[in-house]
Amino acid sequence: MANFNIDAKKNMTYDAIVIGSGISGGWAAKELCESGLKTLVLERGKLVEHVIDYPTMNNDPWDLDLRGAATADEMKERQIVGRSGFVGENNMHFYAKDDENPYREEKPFMWIRANQMGGRSLLWGKQCYRWSDLDFSANAKDGHGVDWPIRYNDIAPWYTYVEKFAGISGEAIGLPQLPDSHFLPPMELNCVEKDVKKRIEKEFPGRNMIIGRVAHLTVPLNGRGQCQSRNRCDRGCPYGAYFSSNAVTLPAANVTGNLTIRPFSLAEAIIYDEEKGRAVGVRIIDSETKETIEYYARIIFSNASTIGTTQLLLNSTSNRFENGLGNDSGELGHNLMDHTYRVGAMGKFEGHEDEYYKGRRPNGIYIPRYRNIDEKSTTDKFLRGYGYQGGAGRANWDAGANQKAFGGEFKDALMKPGDWEFFITGFAECLPYHENQVTLDKNNLDKWGRPTLVIDAEFKENELAINRQIQIDAVEMLEKAGLKDIVGFDNEHGMGYGIHEMGTARMGKDPKTSVLNATNQVHAVKNVFVTDGACMTSSSCVNPSLTYMALTARAANHAVSELKKKNL
C-alpha cells in the first residue's frame, strides 16, 4: 500500500483543490490527478489507509468484552448516529462524535457524519442503481422543483465509465425505469428469495424482484479481491472487495504522483476574489491546532457531503456573495431531500427447512419501482414512486428470546437454524420542497469557531401517501408470495434515516432558480464545482451514490477540458 503524501507545507498552490475524500471527493481526486493536475485533497478528519487503518476488521464477537456493543459512555458521544442502530465497538471509530459536531434540529433529522479519509464510503450500503429519464424529467413533468439541466443520455457514458472501475455486481433485466449497469456477475439469491421472486413476478405482472446491484466485487478487479461474504464491511474490507475511496479511488489518484492529501483540514470558506471574479482558494482550520491556513488553486471541487458542502458555501461570504458563495438564486440551503425508510412488511416462509446458505452476503433483494412509470401504472394518490430492498434469512438463537421455553432442551434446540423469514422495506422519492432547508446559526459556533447549522426539514403529504402505499403493497406481495405471520410496519421517524440526503445546492438551467449548471459549476463562479449530493435537483427513489460518482467523473473531465481551453 502506497503511503500518501500529506506534506502540504512546502506548497500552498495547486492546480486543483478537492474538499472531502468520500465517495464523490475520491472520484474527483482520481480524475483530476490522472489528468495531470496537481491536486490537494482537504480532509477534515484523520487519515485512514486501506487495510492499515482497519483495526477491527477481523474481530470475532468474543474478541471484545462487550461482544461488539458500544458502552453507554461511548453512545452518549454519539446520540445522533445512535438512533440508526448501526453503531458498535467495531465501527465506532468511523463515525463522527455527534457531541463535537452539534447542529439544531427544528424537526427530527438524523445527520450521520463520518469525518475521516474516505468519509462514508467506508460505511455506505453499496447499493448502486442508475437513474433514468423517469427521474431526470420528473420535476419538469409535475412541476415540483426545477428541471434537471441534464438527461439520461448526458450521464449514461459516465455511469459506464465509473462502473467499470468501481465494480458493480448485478443482473441485467432491461427495465427502462432502472437502466442496467455494466455488471460483474450477480450475487446469488437464497432458496426462499428464489421462490418469493417467482411468486411475486407471477402474481404481479410488471413487478420484478432482483438481487441487489452492489459495489461489491464478485470477481477480482484491478488487484482488488472478490467479496468473501464476511459482511464486516463497515470495519473496512481487507480484500478491498467493496468500493470505498480508501481502497479504490484514492490509491489510483496517489499512483499518479499528483496527489497531496491534508488530514485534519476543516474547510472554513472558499475564498472569492472580487477583482478576478473567481474563487482563488480555500481557507481551512487545522482541526488539531486551530491554525488558519489558505490554499490556492485554479479549480475547486466541493465534495464535503450534501449538508457539509452547503454549510461551507453558506459560510463563504464576500461583498459579491453576502448570503453565501453562488447564492444569487437564494436557493442555497433549500430543497433538502432524503428517501423515506422503514416502511414495509415481514413474514415467515414455510418450506426449505432442510436448506441453508453459506456466507453472510452483504446484499439483499431489490424490487424496482413499478408505480407511475407509464400510463397503465399511474395512480392519482401520489406523485413519483418507490422501490423496495429486503431479503430472506433463517432465524438464529436470537429467536429464543420470544419462545415460551427455557432450559436445556430449549438451549440445545437453538443450535439449529430457525424459521425462514423474509422482509421488504420501501424507499420512496421525496419531492424538493423549498422550505426543507439548512441555515447557518451564527449565534452558536462549533469548537473551531464556525457557525453551526439548523436543519429544518420534514416529509410531507406526498411522501406519507407513498409510505401508506408501500405498506399496503408490501403486505399484499408477501401474502401472495405465501408468507405467514405477516407483519406490516411503518416506522418512519423523520428525515435523515435514509442517509440519502440530497439537494441544497441544486443543478438547474436557470441561475435565477438554481445554484449549479449542467456540469456542476456554480453558475456565477465557474471554477467551483459541487458534485456531492448537494447538487441533486430531485431525489428519485433509488440510491444516489452511483449517480454522484458519474456526475463527479463527468464534471472533473469537463473541468480539465475547460482548463485546457483556458476557459477556467
Binding site: 461482544r67 432458496c191 468473501q228 432442510d354 441453508y356 453459506k358 428470546a401 415460551k404 443450535m415 439449529k416
Partner: protein, 194 residues
C-alpha cells in the same frame, strides 16, 4: 454518580472480606458466587447467576455459567447501561425477587429448581414479546418486555457469542468465500455462529 461510588465501595468491601474471613462469619448470608461482581451487588449477582443456570443449564453442551454469562451480564449492566438504566434494572431485580418471595417464601437464588422453573414459566406467560426487527431496529411500537425477557435475551446473546460456543459448537466460518444461496443444511449442521 453516587450510585457508582456506592458500587465501587461494595466491590472494595468484597475484597476486604476475603482478607478477613472472620468478618464473613457475622454476615447472615454467605455469598455462593465463585466470582466477584464488578458492578452488580452481590445479592443481584446471585440472582443473575441463578437465573442463568435455570435458563441455560449444562447439558451435553456447556451451560450458561460455564460460559460465564452471569459475568457478562455484570459487564452489560456496568458498561452498557447508564445510571438511569442501572437504577431501573436494580429496581426490576428487587421487584422480581420480591414477587418470587411472595409466592415461594424465599429468594430465587435460594430455592429449588422446581420453584424457579414454575416461576419462570409464569414470567414467560406474562412477559410481552419483542417485535421483529429490520436492520437492527425493532419495527412497530415496542411495548416494554420487562426484566425477565430482557434478561433472557441478553443471556442468549452472552451465551451464543461466547468463544467456546461460537468457535466449537456452532458452525464457525470467518471467511466463507463466494456466497452460496441454497445448500443442504446437513452440510452445515448447526447455525452459523457469525
Amino acid at each position: 454518580m453516587q450510585r457508582r461510588e456506592a458500587l465501587k465501595q461494595t466491590a472494595l468491601f468484597g475484597v476486604a472480606t476475603t482478607l478477613f474471613p472472620s468478618l464473613i462469619q457475622s454476615c447472615k448470608e454467605v455469598s455462593r458466587l465463585n466470582w466477584q461482581p464488578q458492578f452488580l451487588s452481590v445479592k443481584n449477582a446471585e440472582l443473575i447467576s441463578a437465573l442463568i443456570d435455570t435458563l441455560l443449564p449444562k447439558t451435553e453442551t456447556p451451560g450458561g455459567l460455564d460460559m460465564k454469562v452471569d459475568m457478562f451480564i455484570d459487564l452489560v449492566y456496568g458498561k452498557l447501561k447508564d445510571q438511569d438504566g442501572q437504577a431501573e434494572m436494580d429496581k426490576e431485580m428487587n421487584d422480581f425477587d420480591a414477587k418470587f418471595k411472595e409466592k415461594f417464601g424465599g429468594r430465587f437464588a435460594d430455592l429449588s429448581p422446581e420453584n424457579r422453573t414454575e416461576f419462570l414459566m409464569m414470567e414467560e406467560v406474562r412477559s410481552p414479546k419483542f417485535n421483529g426487527s429490520v436492520w437492527g431496529t425493532a419495527v412497530g411500537t415496542q411495548e416494554p418486555v420487562g426484566f425477565y425477557r430482557n434478561l433472557k435475551s441478553v443471556a442468549l446473546w452472552g451465551y451464543f457469542s461466547s468463544k467456546e460456543i461460537g468457535l466449537n459448537v456452532l458452525s464457525y466460518d470467518p471467511v466463507p468465500g463466494p456466497f452460496q444461496g441454497c445448500i443442504p443444511l446437513v452440510e452445515v449442521g448447526n447455525t452459523w455462529s457469525l
